[in-house]
C-alpha cells in the first residue's frame, strides 16, 4: 500500500486519497476545491431578493443597522440592531407568532428554502400570524427587536447559516419566546441544516419547528430548558 486504497474514500466525506501532481493536488482536485469555495463565497455575498416572498405572502421589509455586507461581516452588533425608523414600519396586529426571514450569512439558502418552508409551516403553526418580515443584513438576534415591535409572543427566525465548503445553502430556524432585545442565545431553540436533499427536508423541518412553537406556547419558554425534552437537533450560535 503506497497509495490509499480507493474504497476507503467512501468511509468519510473528508477529502482523502486525492490525486496528486508531485506533492501538490492535481488540476482536477484543485479546481474542485475552488468550485466549492466559490459557491460558499457567492452565498455569503449573494443579495437578498425578496420578490419571491412578496409574490407568495404579505411581507414587510426591514434593514438592520449594518448598511452593507462588509460592515455586516465586521460588526455583528449592527446586524442585531433595528434602527428606530425601521421599527416604525412594524406595528402590533394582535397576532401571536411572527415568521421572519433573514439573509444571515447565506441569501442563497433563503432563496432556495424560505418560500417552501413557510408554506409547510403555515399549515402546521395554527393561531394568528403577523405579516412575514424580510430582514436585510440580519443576525439571529435582530428577530428580538422585530418581535418586540410586532408585539408577538414568539418569533421564528429563518436565516441563512454560515456556508460550509460543501454546504453553501443551509437554512437555520431559531425560535424565541417573548422576543425582546437582550435575549441570550441560550434562550432560543434551533433547527439547523435545513437543506434538502442533503440536510433536513422542508416538511420535516416544519414539523420540528411547529413542535417547538407549540411547546414554547404551552410552557411559556424557549431555550435550554426546552432542549432536554425535544428530539430535535439543537445548535446555538
Amino acid at each position: 500500500m503506497a497509495e490509499l486504497p480507493a474504497r476507503l474514500a467512501a468511509l468519510t466525506q473528508a477529502r482523502i486519497g486525492l490525486p496528486r501532481a508531485g506533492h501538490a493536488l492535481n488540476t482536477a482536485a484543485t479546481l474542485a476545491f475552488d468550485l466549492a469555495h466559490a459557491r460558499a463565497r457567492d452565498a455569503v455575498h449573494a443579495v437578498f431578493d425578496t420578490a419571491p416572498l412578496h409574490a407568495e405572502f404579505d411581507v414587510i421589509d426591514v434593514h438592520s443597522a449594518a448598511p452593507d455586507r462588509a460592515t455586516y461581516l465586521q460588526r455583528p452588533d449592527l446586524g442585531r440592531t433595528l434602527p428606530e425608523a425601521q421599527a416604525a414600519r412594524l406595528t402590533p396586529t394582535g397576532a401571536g407568532t411572527a415568521i421572519i426571514v433573514g439573509d444571515g450569512l447565506s441569501a442563497t439558502a433563503v432563496a432556495l428554502h424560505a418560500v417552501p418552508l413557510i408554506q409547510a409551516l403555515l399549515s402546521r403553526l395554527g393561531g394568528t400570524l403577523a405579516p412575514v418580515v424580510a430582514a436585510h443584513q440580519a443576525r439571529v438576534a435582530l428577530g428580538d427587536a422585530i418581535g418586540a415591535a410586532l408585539g408577538v409572543d414568539i418569533v421564528v427566525m429563518l436565516i441563512g447559516e454560515r456556508p460550509g465548503l460543501s454546504a453553501p445553502d443551509s437554512l437555520g430556524a431559531y425560535i424565541t419566546w417573548q422576543p425582546r432585545p437582550g435575549r441570550r442565545d441560550s434562550e432560543r431553540n434551533c433547527v439547523s441544516n435545513i437543506r434538502p436533499p442533503h440536510g433536513l427536508d422542508h416538511e420535516t423541518a416544519a414539523t420540528r419547528i411547529a413542535w417547538l412553537v407549540h411547546q414554547a406556547r404551552a410552557r411559556r419558554l424557549t431555550g435550554v430548558a426546552l432542549k432536554d425534552e425535544s428530539s430535535v437537533t439543537i445548535r446555538l450560535r
Binding site: L8, L11, A14, R75, L105
Partner: protein, 459 residues
C-alpha cells in the same frame, strides 16, 4: 497613568498603557469591534512612538489588567524572573526591538531572556515590528519539546494530523489518519477534535488512536481535544491519554468562560504526567489559543486582542507544553477580517510565543465569511515556514468537515517541507523511511509500504 505624543501641533493622548497598546496595534476588525482601535492612522503611529520610548520596566508597574482583579496578571507578575530581566532592564521597547534584530541577540541569548519578559513586553515590541522583523526574530529562536518524538529542531517542520469527522465515526477517522500518514503527516500529534462532548466517545477515539499508533509503531503522540475535565475523567477511567488538551485565554474571565482556571490546569498536568507515557520526554500539555477569544467571552477589560493573546502564552508557559497552537483565522471576520489581518496575527502570535519560550505552531486557516482564500493561506504558510514555525495542521484536502473551516492540508505540509528544505521530526522521519512512505530525500515513494490496513478498514 496618561501618555501622549505631540506630532506637528497635534497632541495624541492616551488615558493609560492599555490605550497606548490598543492604539499601536495594526488595524484589525476585532479591536474596532471592541472600541479600542486607533481613531486614525496618525494616532496609531503616535501610539507606536509612545511605546518606542517607554522603558520596559513600565510594564511591571502599569498593569493592563489589575493584579487584584485577574489571576493571569498575578501569574505574570509573580513568575517574572528579575535576574533574567536584569540584562534588558535598561532598554525601552524601541531599544528591545533594535537589540532583538541585532547580531548580538542570537537564539540562545534570547531564549535565556524569556523568563524576564512579560507577555505585555513582547506584545508591545511586536507592535512596532514589521512583518519581516517578526519573521527574522522568531527564526532565531528554537523551542524544542519531546514526548515520543522531538519537535522544534532546526530544519524540521512537524504536522498535527487532524482527521475530524462530523459524527466521530471510527472508520472514517481511521481512513483520514491513514491518508495523512501516507502523506508524511502526524509527527506533532495525531489529534481529533471530537464532534460531541461525550467522555465515552472520547475514550473510544483514544483507544483507536493508541491501537493504530502501536500497530504501526509510530513514534508520535495522540490526543482527543476534549475539555480538560473530560481528560481527567478519561485518565481516571484508564484511557490511553498521551497529551492533555485545553483552549486557554489571556484573562481570568476568558478562562472562566472556557470552564477552567490555573488550579485546574495544574491538576490536569500532574495527572497526565503521572501516566508516564512519554518515552523521550515529558512535555504533556497541548494548548490552543487565538486572538479575539477574550472579546468573544466578554472578558477583554478594554485590552486589545493581540496583547490578550500574548497573555494567553503567559498562561501556557507555566505548564511546559509540548505544543501551543494559535488557531489564527478560525474565529471569523469580526475579529480578523481578511487575509492581510490573518497573516499579521499569525506572525505576531508566532513571534510572541517564541519570545516567551513556547513551542509555537499555527493553524493557518479561514472561514468562508472571511475575505480570504487558499492563496492567502499559501502566503501565510510559506512565511510561517521561513519564520521557523514548529508545526502546522494537516487536514484532508484542507477542508475540515466537522469544524466547517479551511486549514492547511497534508499536501501543503509536503509543499512547505519541499520548498524550504525542512524535514519531519527525526524519529518520525526514520519511521517514514523504514515504512517505505518516503525515500532518503524525503520524497513520497511510489513503491508499496510495509503498512497493512488496520482491521477496522480491512473489510
Amino acid at each position: 497613568m496618561a501618555y501622549y505624543h505631540d506630532l506637528g501641533g497635534t497632541r495624541h493622548s492616551f488615558a493609560d498603557l492599555r490605550g497606548v497598546m490598543a492604539a499601536a496595534s495594526p488595524h484589525r476588525s476585532g479591536d474596532v469591534l471592541a472600541g479600542v482601535a486607533a481613531a486614525s492612522a496618525e494616532q496609531r503611529v503616535a501610539a507606536r512612538l509612545v511605546l518606542a520610548d517607554l522603558p520596559l520596566a513600565s510594564f511591571l508597574a502599569d498593569l493592563v489588567i489589575p493584579y487584584e482583579a485577574d489571576e493571569v496578571t498575578r501569574l505574570i507578575i509573580d513568575s517574572h524572573d528579575e535576574n533574567a530581566f536584569a540584562a534588558i532592564a535598561h532598554l525601552t521597547v524601541g531599544g528591545l526591538r533594535d537589540w532583538l534584530l541585532s547580531n548580538a541577540a542570537d537564539g540562545g541569548v534570547i531564549s535565556a531572556l524569556a523568563p524576564g519578559l512579560t507577555p505585555e513586553m513582547v506584545a508591545a515590541v511586536t507592535k512596532i515590528m514589521r512583518n519581516q522583523d517578526l519573521i527574522a526574530v522568531a527564526r532565531k529562536i528554537r523551542v524544542i519539546t519531546r514526548f515520543r518524538g522531538t519537535i522544534g529542531l532546526p530544519g524540521r517542520l512537524s504536522v498535527r494530523l487532524q482527521p475530524n469527522h462530523p459524527t466521530d465515526d471510527p472508520a472514517g477517522i481511521a481512513a483520514a489518519i491513514l491518508d495523512g500518514l501516507l502523506l508524511g503527516s502526524g509527527d506533532a500529534v495525531i489529534g481529533i477534535n471530537p464532534a460531541g462532548d461525550s467522555v465515552a466517545a472520547a475514550h473510544t477515539l483514544l483507544r483507536l488512536l493508541d491501537d493504530l499508533r502501536q500497530a504501526y509503531a509510530i513514534p508520535t503522540q495522540s490526543c482527543v481535544l476534549t475539555h480538560v475535565t473530560n481528560t481527567l475523567k478519561l485518565i481516571e477511567a484508564g484511557a490511553p491519554v498521551d497529551l492533555c488538551f485545553q483552549s486557554i485565554g489571556g484573562t481570568e474571565g476568558t478562562n472562566s468562560g472556557f470552564g477552567i482556571d490555573l488550579a485546574l490546569l495544574t491538576e490536569a498536568q500532574a495527572a497526565t504526567l503521572a501516566l508516564g507515557r512519554g518515552t523521550i520526554g515529558h512535555d504533556v500539555m497541548y494548548f490552543e489559543t487565538g486572538q479575539g477569544s477574550a472579546l468573544s467571552a466578554g472578558a477583554h477589560h478594554g485590552v486589545d486582542q493581540q496583547t490578550l493573546e500574548a497573555r494567553a502564552y503567559g498562561v501556557a508557559r507555566a505548564f511546559r507544553p509540548l505544543l501551543v497552537n494559535s488557531v489564527v483565522g478560525f474565529i471569523g471576520p469580526e475579529y480578523l477580517y481578511d487575509g492581510k489581518q490573518i497573516l499579521r496575527a499569525a506572525l505576531e502570535d508566532h513571534c510572541c510565543g517564541k519570545l516567551l519560550g513556547l513551542p509555537m505552531g499555527l493553524d493557518i486557516c479561514y472561514t468562508n465569511h472571511a475575505e480570504a482564500d487558499q492563496n492567502d493561506m499559501d502566503g501565510i504558510l510559506t512565511l510561517a515556514g521561513v519564520a521557523g514555525v514548529n508545526f502546522i495542521m494537516g487536514v484532508p484536502g484542507a477542508d475540515d468537515i466537522m469544524l466547517g473551516y479551511q486549514s492547511t492540508s497534508f499536501h501543503d505540509a509536503l509543499y512547505l517541507r519541499d520548498v524550504l528544505g525542512l524535514r519531519p521530526a527525526p524519529e518520525f522521519e526514520a519511521w517514514l523511511l523504514a515504512s517505505g512512505i518516503t525515500d532518503m530525500a524525503g520524497r513520497l515513494t511510489t513503491s508499496p509500504t510495509s503498512l497493512a490496513l488496520p482491521a477496522l478498514l480491512d473489510g
